[in-house]
């Protein structure tokens, strides 16, 4: 059932077993599991069915941080550092940010879940193996074919990977979703469901609690049109993204001034993102056919497209105390072919003399790094001084990375350069300096970590079931619960976690 919240009678209280706030990848994946289960669910969406400027303006906020200070910022977002990082990268209408999703799907690697002594505050309370069944189901929702569950690959459907070597050079395959726009793809299924009521134009502006602040009584909903009403539910789920999940908890501060469930001061902290960068070039000395897997190829068959990226295996990461990183060969989507190095390129001309057959033209390829940025307690989302059109304080993001993050990228690329040379594949030019570890970089806008998951209430906001440690009927799902971000794009893991939470909630509701 689809309901325009602007038409709901003011002051009404809507009742449900489960109230899901947010209809992005997490919220819709969750709601889809409740169809025909006999459990009444309310799904609240801030916007309508299509983009609306007034609603998108609610995404605006302030961004600062050390990366900005060092000149790191994506020029394609905006000439003004930070502008667009919050408003331009997220979407507030049915389907959420999947409406702007690139479609990259890849499960996190086993090591991404591990506690690593060289990565501060690392370690998930769940393992890759526990999440594996949900990744399989997530593939269906993301419309990718069943994928190879191995961590590393020797090739994919006739396209060989570069040979792995004992130094740890590995290839892993990323799968492309069409990309699935969850709003349009799953709308009719949800609207047909008698169990799920979707309210569009419904912004949660407060979560009301009893004086102990140990459970949510009701969500206060406001519309930009001025209407307002309440939703009461046995269980609430926040699924509004890595920034908004924290913001909503911080805004719910009438009883607990520091924010709901924030007794340990962790809500909003440990904000993470992928600090993408172009760390150098690869001079390819082998036949370009050997690099086919590393093209961003779109073959036109839904869920069938893949991209190979280079990485270092888990053993090497452990031995060298490195964080995970992907190195993609090429930074331009749909690049028809790798360009040949110009004839006046000194190194290409020199090295090809003794490594290549006469007449061979080496290719010069721009590298792109997707590095894991480790948790940093001082990297955080807080409430800014400005208020939005609903009278709520806007988010302020102070994104900080650790010095180790840059060191890790550089060391990883040095090892990859050595391995590629060893395999006679080519030579690598490193453009990352100790004082500028993220040259020519941009944010992945994979906002994460602000309601991190931990078994220990002193170290995390939610437990392994995504339930808040301090609020017994409030769950949070999405990248905000990631304790670490890995190198992979987050959406696939967000969907897997939402499916896992759906199973947990269905079980809990039965009890």
């Amino acid at each position: 059932m689809l309901i325009d919240a602007r038409t709901v009678e003011r002051g009404t209280t809507i009742k449900a077993a489960v109230c899901v706030v947010g209809s992005g990848a997490a919220g819709i994946s969750l709601a889809m599991q409740f169809r025909d289960k006999g459990v009444p669910v309310v799904l609240l969406e801030s916007g309508g069915l299509t983009e609306d400027a007034r609603c998108e303006a609610l995404n605006q906020g302030r961004v600062e941080g050390t990366l900005l200070d060092s000149g790191f910022w994506p020029p394609h977002y905006s000439a003004v550092p930070g502008e667009g990082y919050l408003a331009g990268s997220r979407r507030r209408y049915f389907g959420g940010t999947t409406n702007a999703w690139g479609g990259w799907c890849r499960p996190f690697d086993p090591i991404d879940f591990a506690e690593r002594e060289w990565v501060s505050d690392s370690g998930w309370p769940i393992t890759k193996a526990e999440l594996a069944p949900f990744y399989r189901r997530a593939a269906g929702l993301c419309q990718i074919k069943p994928f190879d569950e191995g961590t590393y690959h020797a090739g994919w459907e006739g396209r060989p990977a570069l040979p792995g070597d004992e130094m740890g050079l590995r290839t892993l395959v990323v799968y492309y979703s069409p990309p699935t726009r969850f709003g349009t793809t799953y709308r009719s299924a949800l609207v047909r469901s008698t169990d799920v009521r979707i309210f569009t134009w419904a912004n949660v502006v407060d979560l009301e609690t009893p004086p102990q602040a140990n459970r949510v009584r009701r969500a206060k909903v406001a519309c930009l049109s001025g209407n307002s009403f309440n939703v009461e539910a046995e269980r609430f789920v926040l699924a509004t993204g890595g920034v908004e999940n924290a913001r909503l908890l911080l805004l719910a501060n009438k009883v607990q001034p520091e924010g709901l469930g924030n007794g340990n001061g962790l809500v909003g902290r440990y904000f993470m993102d992928h600090a993408y960068t172009s760390p150098g070039y690869f001079l390819a000395l082998a036949d370009p056919a050997r690099y086919g897997l590393y093209f961003q190829q779109h073959e036109g068959s839904v869920g069938h497209d893949t991209l190979g990226v280079l990485c270092l295996d888990e053993g090497v990461q452990r031995r060298h105390r490195l964080q995970n990183v992907w190195i993609a060969l090429g930074s331009t989507p749909h690049l028809p072919e790798y360009p040949a190095a110009p004839e006046d390129h000194h190194l290409a001309r020199a090295v090809r003399s003794y490594t290549c057959a006469p007449g061979f033209r080496p290719r010069l390829i721009t590298l792109t790094a997707s590095p894991e940025c480790s948790p940093n307690r001082n990297s955080r989302v807080t409430l800014g001084d400005e208020v939005d059109a609903l009278g709520c304080r806007r988010a302020k993001v102070d994104w900080r990375v650790n010095e180790a993050d840059g060191v890790s990228v550089r060391q990883s690329l040095e090892l990859i350069a050595q391995a590629l040379g060893r395999l006679s594949m080519g030579r690598v030019r490193l453009l990352i300096a100790e004082d500028n570890p993220f040259p020519r970089g941009w944010g992945g806008t994979h906002h994460s970590g602000t309601t991190r998951m931990s078994r220990d209430p002193r170290k995390g906001v939610v437990n392994a079931d995504c339930r808040m440690h301090q609020v017994e009927n409030l769950y949070v799902v999405g990248s905000s619960v990631f304790p670490t971000l890995g190198a992979a794009n987050p959406t696939f893991t967000i969907v897997a976690l939402a499916l896992r939470l759906a199973d947990h909630l269905l079980e809990a509701v039965k009890r």
Partner: protein, 136 residues
């Protein structure tokens, strides 16, 4: 008194001079090579690994700036291919020996970063040798 007959006309002389200058300018590296060859003997056989040592020299100058203690024409070849007498090897043998040395460098992590490029130490030294030879 009649003037002696000219061997070449002024016009022919000027045009010839211009032609020689142009050819010299066009073949300056080759002329330089000839000058070096006359002064210092034939180039080291290792330089024959490159189609055009000028490209190697462009990189090698950077290498020699970083490793100035290696900027010696008498010592550098021995560092590039230790244990081999390059002069006693055929071109194919020399190429094979050099590639094996490059491989051994990558295996052992003996790398040099030159202008950011992660190179096998031997090839970086070869480029250094090119630069040294060109600087003569």
């Amino acid at each position: 008194m009649s003037q002696p007959p000219r061997l070449v006309s002024r016009r022919v002389f000027l045009l010839s001079s211009l032609l020689v200058a142009c050819l010299g300018w066009l073949n300056w590296p080759r002329l330089q090579g000839l000058r070096r060859r006359l002064r210092h003997g034939p180039p080291h056989p290792l330089l024959g690994l490159l189609d055009d040592p000028g490209h190697g020299a462009a990189i090698g100058r950077e290498y020699l700036r970083a490793y100035a203690d290696e900027a010696r024409l008498d010592a550098l070849p021995g560092l590039i291919l230790p244990g081999h007498d390059a002069a006693g090897l055929s071109a194919a043998e020399l190429r094979a020996a050099f590639l094996a040395q490059v491989q051994a460098d990558f295996d052992a992590g003996r790398l040099a970063q030159v202008d950011g490029w992660a190179l096998a130490r031997s090839e970086a030294r070869l480029f250094g040798l090119c630069a040294l030879w060109q600087s003569l």
